[in-house]
Symmetry: C2
Subunit: 324 residues, 2 copies
Amino acid sequence: MDNRNNIDFDGIGRFFEEHDCINILTHKSPDGDTLGAGFGLCAYLRAMGKKANVLNSDGFPERYSFMYEGYYDMEFEEECVIAVDIADTALLGASLLRYAEPAAIDLCIDHHISNKFYAKQSYVDGSASAACLILYRIFKHLGRPISDIIAKCLYTGIATDTGCFKYENTVPAAHIAAAELMQYNIDFANVNRKMFDIKSRARLKAEMISTESMEYFYEGRCAMIIMTTAAMESYGIEPAEFEGISAIPLTVLGVDIGITVRQRHEKVFKLSVRTTDKLDASAFCRQFGGGGHIRAAGCEINGTLEEVRQTVIEAVGRLLGMKV
Amino acid sequence: MDNRNNIDFDGIGRFFEEHDCINILTHKSPDGDTLGAGFGLCAYLRAMGKKANVLNSDGFPERYSFMYEGYYDMEFEEECVIAVDIADTALLGASLLRYAEPAAIDLCIDHHISNKFYAKQSYVDGSASAACLILYRIFKHLGRPISDIIAKCLYTGIATDTGCFKYENTVPAAHIAAAELMQYNIDFANVNRKMFDIKSRARLKAEMISTESMEYFYEGRCAMIIMTTAAMESYGIEPAEFEGISAIPLTVLGVDIGITVRQRHEKVFKLSVRTTDKLDASAFCRQFGGGGHIRAAGCEINGTLEEVRQTVIEAVGRLLGMKV
């Protein structure tokens, strides 16, 4: 628990009681956790008789529609603002910029260790697998009944942020919460199918093209995908569809460092680097002015395609202590 | 719980106590659950001071090696035999055929509702997500300490049989067991990476080729992959690598019936059919003499490639009430 927290579960309960017209902010490029927390909290507050809305800079993607079925925007004069799953006001996005002002946000509930404590009151638990896991604890602590839609939202957030309980950030409490939440009418298998299995045809094609172009180096310990803007355009697929491909190289048996290089501008290339527990992706990216987590990091490298390719291959060689 | 069960947890505990030299049978084409149950039970029995081995008709695949690190075959005269995760002696496989004789197996612990009750004593719980979940309950009931390797084996079985807690067969108790087992030193994230993310290059290529050849019908509600033996051979990839592709068609957004057609012989084609909850895969396959589960079923159709393709497309049209 972060010692910069200045509110506890009882304080949050009082906050809910004392306010009537509440806007809930979720982060840009929304995922299952921020939307699950947003719509889950909104349903909870509405059940308390409050007026509450969920705001997002980019709108609510169709694939999460099962969380906002029956949701409608309420009319009210904003009295207070709660941010969920937002580590930094930079993540609010263009159309919510007005909330990036100091003290514009009253309460922040988040699970990012990197949280900037920008809100008047904050409850941050970096050890929680998901913002939805914190909300679930809060709701249990406060004791009001949870509806099916709230349970579905919270389950979705916990499942998506843990990769369906697959990743290292899955804590025992995430499993316990899932065991309890799945006893509501939430059709969790269908939620998981939507979150983890279903892809658009364009996305599937983007993955196929990427996989096809993958190259291997250093006895197969490094796999690399390079996507130029020209290549992406030639397939008639939106660059956004290529956002999910960074995970592909590291899924190949024997690969310890998977690199995805995407062209941003003529001489600007963005690297996404993923590593097994044998290598440090963050250290690798720092040499190019980037950074991130130990197993997933990123950086930008300037140069022509051939220069960047060569730079990356040589850097990987140094990391592995191997020659091309 | 099946009322044909003729042994309970206490009885199983006495069975363990009363026998000293135990062979544990696992099913052919072994998966994470049968091996997790086999090696988990073996480690448990050895910790009791018993002699125990794990037997499999096809050997132990390398990708499960983390479960049998440190395992070695013990020398002993077989005194009794326990089958784990085996619904039917037909699943023993060629080199364990000697155990298919009546009453050759003393005890069966299984979670398949289709269990044939071939053993002298059986404990079958069709509502359990995995055989490993039943074993975990047994071990907890009996009260002896569980070692890290036992915990790792049981976690692996539960995770693999539930698709990492993704599928409908995930019961709350599976999550609870995971929450408890992950508190041992089991590196569950690495287990999950090995079980769910890592693929051989050949497998990845097989998936790519399959995805590339996928066709869509009926406004995208049906997706179909056809793999001829000639096509599989032309890519120089073992047909076995194509076993996992049946799940691909149904992962496409909008698809309600995904069909994979693999050529077995010149005029024999095997269909794998997967459906969303809108359609019945089993009923679809029954019209061709096949069957299976409501969401995943199979059948064989004889004819030339073009005949089979046409037959399937027309049958899907009837199912959807649509014209090509």
